[in-house]
Amino acid sequence: MRVVRLLVGKDLRLEWRGREIVSAMGLLALLLAIVLGATRSGPEAAPAAMWVTYAFGATLGFTRTFALERDHLTALLLAPLDRGLIFAAKALTNWLGLVVVQVISLPLFGALFTETIWTRLPALALPMLLGGIGLAAVGTLFGGLIVQARLREALLPILMLPVVLPLVIAAVGATTGILDGLPVWAIGAQLQLLLVFDIIFVTASFLLFEYVVEE
């Protein structure tokens, strides 16, 4: 735990000083919200617009968290740590970045799409948290996978979006239900899928990460 805390602390401190990733991700998210809102801004379009925004924001930001190590990746790998812990730290950093993006883009979705977001905020937090964890798990695994590949910025969305599509479908379903005023138990199936997705991909990524970063 201490290792993870240290690694996350290091990344967050770096990010706090430069604010590169969150500003790029956040700006992209705001832009997407505006582009999507300008083309179709009814309340029924809100869930899809939100999740398209989060998924694309994630693909942009997650390529950077490994790139930020640049030449230090080798140093990080030389540290006598379980590779799973490096994954955990990177995934946590990515997830926190995504949460920031989710939070700062909410007012825009509230203003452009539907005010219902504010009245259903506690329920809405469920799919946003569960969906965010899954996006961070898959994004961190693939982000680490392609950090040394050519064209990695193009490659991450191509690899990540199809794999997270079930998550996006379930998250949009859950968000739609919540914004339509359904009680939380009515979207149990969607939340269940999100939870299973998170468990499978957090576990698989944790185990596979050892093979991702070796030299």
Partner: protein, 219 residues
């Protein structure tokens, strides 16, 4: 390998001829139903190919023997080929019977998403050559198969329109023998062609790797 390809192609001719000429016309769907004789074998072959990718990927990560990587890589190419054939034949059938090229049905969505995942696999191979690309691809090969049940489940949450399985179901096939026989012939033919092409491709890759090694050695 040559025997497999020859046998498979010959059997496919028999199967296709049987499906077109001898098999009865389905009462409600009419002639387009005959697409099923190609559609079902190609989707089954595609999934077998993806399982071979999965097995090859796991074995490669475990054993680090480039042979397993060549197997996975070759099978992924064929998997994409057979998924493409499935999607195309399904779209043609769908246009004729449903009146639409595409619907967001569970099986259709799953197959389409798999197509994208394995295209991604091939792109990683193209952009990250060598052992690093092999490792990256192996992880995608594993994640792709893990994703199959979840994609399917999520698509069921959307909706489902695809005909229910009539052959691979717990109670046994519901298809009459007159339709089942050409289907099975084609299925066997597709598997033989797949196995033949897989061996051919693996051999090509082996030659290519050997060539690359020789060139590196002489340079």
């Amino acid at each position: 390998m040559r025997v497999l390809l020859f046998l498979g192609s010959a059997l496919m001719l028999v199967g296709v001829a049987w499906a077109l000429l001898a098999a009865p016309t389905e009462l409600f769907q009419g002639a387009p139903q005959r697409i099923m004789y190609l559609h079902v074998p190609s989707v089954v072959t595609a999934y077998v190919a993806l399982l071979v990718v999965f097995a090859g990927s796991v074995l490669y990560l475990w054993r680090r023997d480039p042979r397993w990587d060549r197997l996975a890589r070759s099978s992924a190419e064929l998997g994409v080929l057979f998924i493409s054939m499935t999607l195309l034949s399904g779209a043609i059938w769908g246009k004729a019977v449903w009146g639409a090229w595409w619907t967001w049905d569970a099986r259709l969505t799953t197959t389409l998403i798999l197509w994208f995942i394995y295209i991604g696999y091939l792109m990683v191979r193209a952009w990250a050559p060598g052992a690093r690309g092999a490792r990256a691809a192996a992880i995608i090969g594993i994640v792709g198969v893990l994703d199959i049940p979840i994609i399917h489940w999520s698509a069921i949450l959307l909706r489902t329109l695809h005909p229910q399985p009539t052959v691979f179901r717990p109670q046994g096939p519901a298809l009459p023998p007159s339709m089942l026989i050409p289907l099975v012939i084609n299925l066997v033919a597709f598997m033989l062609v797949f196995a033949g092409l897989l061996l051919l491709r693996v051999r090509q890759e082996r030659t290519l790797d050997a060539l690359a090694e020789t060139l590196e050695g002489s340079a």
